[in-house]
Symmetry: C2
Subunit: 413 residues, 2 copies
């Protein structure tokens, strides 16, 4: 954050305020584990720089006795943040506030996966987003955006800003963050798209304040990203949350991964469309068409959708049994097709979730494509709220160390 030294305490408070809305200093102390004094101290620079502000004493308080508390609120408009999601043929960008709420959006086609070209399009899109904000006279409370989050499907090394492998773009080891930073002058983060979504949920959404939750996306593929004890699971080899290739039915349809009966081979958009074609005998039906047919009483079409939901339910139960998350958010384009899929998934989940794991809440929530870009912005925000560690800049030695060091330190707790 500009002009500001984010201490660990301040970072905690910012995250709390983003997640909970306004909180009094006393409440902040309670939730953060800091003392009141520490909260006062940590808040001062944030107030000075305009990252938070005091609200009027809340009028409708219950206990009338004692000094009324002063709610502190994050000034989400203090800084703008950009988020861009790359698909195989489009770059979708949003300009958001510090809570990763979308203020406006724009979109550019990606003519080819050629790296310099993509970087150029991203830079152009960033400029468009910023200029449009200016031209539309959107009130600017604080700084023009200096941060840009990128979301890409595939294997991403967030700490290095490296796209290790992207099947859609056919990239390997592209240092995307550096390239885009050089082209735009912004501070750039890159993260896997599903993990970005989880970041958004962690920051202000369904995961705010939860120990552990999961985000599952259904659409062209089946994605999953897991937050355990507040940490996003990364996977030792870059793979984690590969829920799409969980085998739910050994006798199920063949999957492109070589296995049989993967969730993705039953519940991805393409798989449902394929099933619809063979079940109804009509080619070229979309999932929405199928939903419409099902609503009109077509049992075969309905069957295709409930089969998909059923597979998803099994997958959700597997996640719940292994992790015991408090909540699973299911989202993505695949949810636009009405209630059949969620209903079937819920039912199957209840049957297969073991013991108390069944208490895990399922939240089905359709999401526009923009949501992916907002996720990208959330990663950038999260980066802004991270404690600025003085030592990071001190020497290469420390940077080299930090990887293993962090791991060891965490292991101790």
């Amino acid at each position: 954050m500009r002009n500001i030294q984010v201490t660990p305490g301040a970072a905690t408070l910012l995250a709390l305020l983003a997640a909970h809305g306004a909180l009094s200093r006393t409440d902040l102390a309670k939730h953060s584990g800091l003392t009141q004094g520490a909260v006062t101290k940590a808040l001062r620079p944030l107030l000075d720089e305009g990252y938070v502000h005091e609200l009027a004493t809340e009028p409708g308080r219950v206990r009338a006795v004692g000094r009324p508390s002063t709610p502190i609120e994050l000034r989400a408009d203090r800084e703008d943040v950009l988020g861009i999601k790359l698909t195989d043929d489009t770059a979708i960008g949003v300009l958001t506030d510090l809570r990763a709420e979308v203020r406006h959006s724009a979109e550019l086609p990606l003519p080819s996966p050629d790296v310099p070209e993509v970087v150029g399009v991203v830079a152009r899109l960033a400029r468009i987003l910023l200029e449009r904000r200016d031209s539309e006279g959107i009130p600017v409370a604080g700084d023009r955006a200096r941060r840009l989050g990128l979301a890409v499907s595939g294997d991403v090394d967030r700490t290095r800003g490296l796209v290790r492998y992207s099947p859609f773009l056919r990239w390997r080891d592209v240092p995307l963050a550096d390239l885009v930073a050089a082209a735009t002058g912004l501070s750039v983060t890159v993260e896997n798209d599903v993990k970005s979504l989880a970041c958004k949920e962690l920051l202000t959404g369904a995961g705010a304040g939860l120990r552990s939750f999961a985000v599952v996306t259904i659409g062209a593929g089946i994605g999953c990203s897991l937050v355990v004890e507040g940490t996003l699971v990364a996977g030792a080899f870059g793979v984690a949350g590969e829920l799409g290739h969980l085998v739910v039915d050994r006798a199920g349809p063949a999957c492109h991964c070589g296995s049989r009966g993967c969730v993705e081979a039953t519940a991805s958009t393409a798989a449902i469309e394929h099933a619809l074609a063979s079940a109804t005998g009509t080619q070229g039906l979309s999932v929405l068409d199928g939903a419409r047919l099902a609503a009109d009483g077509d049992e075969a079409a309905a069957r295709c959708l409930t089969d998909a939901g059923d597979a998803i339910g099994t997958a959700l139960a597997a996640v719940a049994n292994l992790f015991g998350p408090q909540r699973i958010v299911v989202t993505g384009e695949g949810l636009d097709a009405g209630p059949l899929i969620p209903a079937a998934a819920r039912e199957r989940f209840q049957r297969q979730a073991f013991a108390t794991a069944a208490r895990c809440e399922l939240e089905f929530r359709p999401m526009p494509l923009l949501g992916w870009a907002a996720g990208a912005a959330a990663v950038a925000v999260q980066n802004a709220f991270r404690p600025t560690n003085r030592t990071a800049s001190s020497s290469t030695v420390r940077t080299r160390r930090s990887d293993e060091a962090l791991q060891v330190r965490q292991a101790v707790q």
Copy 2:
């Protein structure tokens, strides 16, 4: 640890030394992320109290130039630690050193799951373990054991020392740690048995120094415990790692949990025995009998074992795809039955692990029952190596806070 104030730095170093063996101060600095100065300082009280010692300069060093380094080694014999595993009918106890390596063991029957009686047996077993050490003249370098770890299957709240639910003992909300502490005067920890095993692996075993790994046990049940980014996954509702009820084959045998085709319904000891009985027509065959038959060319018996291995392979692939651990250790009594199960599991795993998740190493390792008790001891050791936080004793307010506070603080990173 007695007479000693474990600072965070010291805790990190102890964990490193337990995992890596001897390391020079410089290496410790590199691995811990501390500066050399901090290492020197943190090591001093540990040296003074005899928890670590300096070794002679290593002779076979390569670069001959410069001052040779002094390796520091954990003095594992500085303290004894007790570990006891409770099954439905037996208490198995071990006395170990600070690396949770077994020095000797003892065992007592548990006539009933009656709580006071169990507590009594545990106390007696602890006394026996300590006395036998004395009577056998085992050299005592340091302190007599003051820590006891307990391992129980089921849902355990380690921070409160509470057995929330144990199906085998038919317990609910038993404050076991407090009861045993009162009966023995020892500092007592309680943890789920499979998680205890993971602690041992994390401390000195296959998981030492790994970001993420999993321990899967096969035997009477199928257990699993996950370490992600150095943290043991707990599960929001006490359930996590319920691998046993992952559905691997919807058309598979019915499971006692009400579902069909769970891993446990195919690969637990009872399930294999059941399958053997129906496949061979002979009642009362044990898994070992089945393995012998298979070795003698009985295809039906072999089939039962490979089916079990196959189910386990699917389960392992699910774990690898979801978490991307660096390694999965498969252990437990179920591995005593020869190579058929591991072979089948490996094969299935390779087919179903997605992309780089297949690089996850599988380690199959039979384990004596004592291993469970050693795991319990590892939890006690881990507790000894934890930073002693001064504030914990300060007030109830802080304790009440700490739960949510910790969560928020971690979320920030």
